[in-house]
């Protein structure tokens, strides 16, 4: 039982990957890249989702995915034109598939008619495109209701020649083999493993019988005398003739798909001689085939591979087929694989032949898809444990290095060299471990186009979402925290930023608003930017509302930039009417708190009438922090290096007094708020004021703050430890860390210090 749950969990994991793959592919297809590779990837993704759904009995999902797949199949072999309408329908369909998947995951039932409209449209388009595809459809429809893990790619691959030469619409998917369709002779020779896997030939034969008129003859001449009879031996095979109008060999093959590899099947049109079909070549190849159970475990590409193989093995058996032998097929594909100009987008009729996986590798290097990358699934906990341990190792190593004084260095040169190598190795180890956790932001970015579409539909606005730099890699824990803030930011842009088409036209902008989502690495940080070309922040209204809600005192006149930042205040919302998109006053403050939680900062800029830009500055990783170690009173504190601008001795710093009794620091013509950390933390200090140090830090929105500390000890790397794990959050402290000597040092929360200082002054 729990095994099944495990499989299910894996399946849903895969589904979410496949769904984001779909999203990605369609983003490219929508942008005009309508080549066959993309279509195949889409087809594979839907097919995989459907296959798993069938195995788990998610009938709603199977039904919808099947209808969708049928349409995709038609599109893929060129029977249906990939017009913009079809693309839009497909994107809608992806969303529906995603809904089905999440319903299945949560054990919910979607209403039976959900997606029905689209299903009908698939049908209409498919029929319209193929003219006479009905028979095929109906038949599939029947079978699919039950378990369906079909390997349709086989069928298509065998027809490469056809698709190439006929090109015209009338290429109703019939290779010359099937020119006189209907009557087939099938020879079915089970291997021992077929029985070992508990398959019953009788059931297969019955299923064949459903396809049309059938006669079966058992071939018994191999049955030995009773004395030689081996109880588990296989001695019997069958010859079957089948006839029904429009019966294709693919349909027959489908019956045998669960036993593929466990038996030898030859299918020839009635009249072709069977004698040659007992080709010796078929045996070894087929015997090496994995069983169905193994097939289930294979990846998509491997499936296509395996599926293609029996066909190749069987090739010599049939008169007409040598022309389609596997080697030839591969050549054929190679010839067409180089990025030849794809047919103009509106009519990609001569679709490039789908590539069989084994030979396709050469041709796939054009795309940046990670097809060949091998991967394993590892519990994140395990990775975290390694990350933590490596963090400790780094610290121990730096402690060891610190212990080496000059006399030791002179005396133990070998030891010093060893330590140096150790330092390099640990650094390398640390980088590699971090790379394990790093993931492209694509995994969150790819969820956003759907959001933008839904928002566009709900608001009646026209919105285009652009994504840039989606391959930028960030620590997985950071990525996980990114989804909600991005959702809120895009909602906000769509709801408050982008104007209605009419308004935009009136302002001389294009009717379609653009939201641009970008990611880039900047030093030790990742910048995530959400930009829109909408109206920008309505500062008057923001200020008014902030005053009404008591977020800001009536007598304070904030700067424009400060007003912009107000949208992040809790409970703030400017929406005139509470819509179900945004406007409940939660949202942007979620952005701020989520980002702060992971040690990042948020900054917003706005240009009236031109748009706004929200920038998230995130740490590359959460596990290890480069810090400056300082002393306040007798206690060690660390300040994140990423926020430090410069340090200077107090005797050289230029302090000025302000009426509140506090100090400001003058730095290059700028006056900066100054916080005496010892005073702020109520720690006794005996250090001479002139011997103390100023650490100039930069916080959100390029605001600077000067921290006065007693001493600067040096730079080092530390592993962040949570205070909340055993205690609770402490104001002004972002966490703790353990130094080389085993003592705990506290991490200064620069941003938080600044905020509480405001509080204190205000009170």
């Amino acid at each position: 039982m729990s095994d099944l749950d495990d499989f299910k969990a894996t399946y849903f994991d895969e589904c979410s990957e496949l769904l984001s793959e779909l999203e990605e592919q369609f983003a490219a297809i929508e942008a005009g890249e309508r080549d066959a590779d993309r279509l195949n990837a889409v087809f594979r993704a839907i097919h995989s989702i459907k296959g798993g759904a069938g195995a788990f009995g998610f009938s709603g999902l199977v039904g919808f995915a099947h209808a969708y797949e049928t349409l995709l199949d038609y599109v893929r072999d060129g029977r249906v034109e990939l017009t913009d309408d079809v693309v839009t329908l497909c994107i809608k369909a992806n969303d529906i598939v995603a809904d089905h998947v999440s319903a299945a995951k949560n054990g919910e039932e979607l209403p039976a008619e959900y997606g029905h409209e689209e299903k009908v449209r698939f049908d209409v388009i498919a029929r319209g495109g193929s003219g006479a595809g009905s028979e095929d459809d109906d038949m599939n429809g029947e079978i699919i209701e039950e378990f369906d893990i079909e390997f349709t790619p086989v069928r298509v691959e065998l027809k490469v020649d056809e698709a190439e030469e006929s090109g015209e619409d009338d290429a109703f998917d019939a290779p010359p083999l099937e020119a006189a369709p209907g009557s087939w002779e099938v020879r079915f020779t089970p291997f021992r493993q077929l029985y070992a896997r508990a398959n019953d030939p009788l059931l297969l034969l019955r299923e064949l019988g459903v396809l049309g008129e059938m006669s079966v003859r058992a071939v018994m001449h191999d049955v030995p005398a009773l004395g030689d009879f081996e109880p588990f031996g296989v001695y019997c095979s069958w010859e079957i003739t089948l006839s029904a109008p429009d019966l294709t060999d693919a349909a027959i093959r489908e019956v045998f798909e669960f036993v593929e590899g466990d038996c030898e099947i030859t299918i020839v049109p009635l009249g072709a001689t069977l004698s040659r079909s007992v080709a010796p070549a078929g045996m070894p190849a087929a015997a090496a085939e994995p069983g169905v159970a193994d097939l289930l475990a294979l990846t998509e590409d491997e499936v296509a591979d395996v599926a293609a193989r029996p066909a190749a093995a069987a090739a010599p058996a049939v008169e007409e087929e040598p022309a389609l032998s596997f080697a030839d097929l591969a050549d054929e594909i190679k010839a067409s694989a180089p990025p030849r100009p794809v047919a103009p987008p509106p009519a990609p009729k001569p679709v490039a032949p789908p590539k069989p996986a084994p030979s396709g590798e050469g041709g796939e290097d054009g795309g940046n898809r990670s097809v060949g990358v091998q991967s394993i699934r590892v519990d994140l906990d395990k990775v975290d444990r390694v990350v933590n341990m490596v963090g400790e190792l780094v610290i121990t190593q730096s402690m060891l290095t610190q212990q080496m004084d000059e006399t030791l260095r002179a005396r133990y040169t070998e030891l010093v060299r060893g330590l140096e190598v150790l330092a390099q190795t640990t650094r390398g180890l640390q980088d590699s471990v971090m790379a394990i956790r790093a993931q492209p932001v694509k995994s969150v970015f790819s969820r956003m186009p759907r959001l933008a579409r839904e928002l566009a539909t709900k608001t009646g606005k026209r919105i285009k979402l652009e994504t840039i730099g989606e391959n930028t890699e960030i620590d997985k824990t950071v990525i996980e925290q990114l989804s909600d803030p991005l959702t809120h930011m895009i909602r906000n842009s769509a709801d408050h930023g982008i104007e209605t088409p009419e308004k935009r036209r009136a302002m001389g902008k294009s009717e379609t608003g653009t939201i641009r989502l970008s990611a880039e690495q900047a030093g030790g940080n990742i910048l995530i930017v959400v930009e829109d070309d909408g109206a920008g922040i309505n500062r008057e209204r923001v200020l008014q509302l902030a005053r009404d809600k008591g977020i800001i005192a009536p007598d304070i006149t904030p700067t424009d930039e400060q007003i912009d930042q107000l949208i992040f205040a809790p409970g703030f919302s400017t929406a005139d009417a509470v819509s179900d998109i945004s406007g409940r006053g939660v949202g942007m403050d979620v952005v701020l708190s989520n980002i702060k939680k992971i040690g990042g900062s948020v900054h917003v800029r706005s240009w009236t009438g031109k748009g706004s830009r929200v920038t998230l500055r995130l740490p590359l990783t959460l596990a290890v922090l480069d810090v400056m170690l300082v002393k306040v009173g007798d206690s060690p504190y660390v300040v994140p290096l990423s926020s430090i601008v410069e340090t200077m001795q107090c005797s050289r710093a230029n302090f000025e007094r302000v009426p509140s009794g506090g100090q400001v620091l003058q730095v290059r013509g700028e006056y900066v708020q100054t916080i005496d950390v010892a005073q702020r933390f109520e720690l006794p200090t005996q250090t001479d004021p002139d011997d103390r140090f100023v650490v100039l830090c930069e916080t959100e929105g390029s605001q600077k703050v000067a921290l006065v500390v007693d001493d600067i000890i040096g730079q080092q790397q530390v592993v962040i430890k949570s205070l909340e794990e055993n205690f609770e959050r402490v104001d002004g402290i972002a966490g703790g860390t353990i130094l080389g000597d085993g003592n705990v040092a506290l991490i200064v929360d620069v941003q938080g210090l600044r905020a509480t200082q405001f509080h204190k002054n205000a009170a």
Binding site: N388, E392, G633, S635, P636, R680, F681, E682, L683, K721, S722, L723, E725, N726, F727, E728, V730, D731, G732, I733, G736, I738, G742, N743, V744, A745, L746, A763
Partner: protein, 162 residues
């Protein structure tokens, strides 16, 4: 009634020696003896300093590194309102688990392990709010009074208000 309630409260986390007995780690603060249930104690270590935490009440002595995790230390004397302990190497930190958190309690010395009967647990006399808040009950052992510490109450309210 009240005695019953206490028993229920403790019963769920006790490794029972006899069905009706309770094992305590007893420690002293000045002349007084207090006890906590032995199953909540994780480790006992000598005082070796702590990093002070700003913006916390005086009974929070700071945090220590316990094999890679940061554990807060509470000064029990200060918690009782008797002023901060001036710790020496002879003072002891009793590390305990409270809920899913680990905390250390700074005490003068750990004396011994006591086995007491649940029936001998008395109510804390009404009167002083600190007593009733911080103690779960009182038990007599060898004619000594042992106060049963309510750990949840001890560690709460550590943050400075405002």
């Amino acid at each position: 009634m009240e005695a019953l309630a206490i028993r229920d409260d403790m019963g769920d986390k006790t490794a029972v020696v006899g069905a009706n007995t309770l094992q305590l780690i007893a420690f002293s603060i000045g002349e007084q003896t207090y006890g906590v249930e032995i199953t909540t104690v994780r480790e006992i270590r000598a005082w070796n300093g702590a990093t002070p935490l700003p913006n916390t009440r005086e009974f929070v002595r700071g945090v220590i590194n316990l094999r890679g995790t940061i554990v807060p230390i509470f000064d029990l004397r200060a918690r009782f309102g008797d002023g901060q302990t001036s710790p020496t190497k002879n003072h002891v930190v009793v590390v305990m688990s409270v809920g899913d958190k680990w905390v250390g309690i700074l005490v003068d010395a750990v004396s011994d392990i006591l086995t007491v009967s649940r029936d001998d647990i008395h109510n804390v006399p009404e009167g002083n709010a600190i007593d009733t808040e911080l103690l779960n009950g009182i038990v007599t052992h060898d004619s000594r009074m042992v106060g049963l510490i309510d750990l949840h109450a001890v560690v709460s309210g550590a943050k400075m208000d405002g």
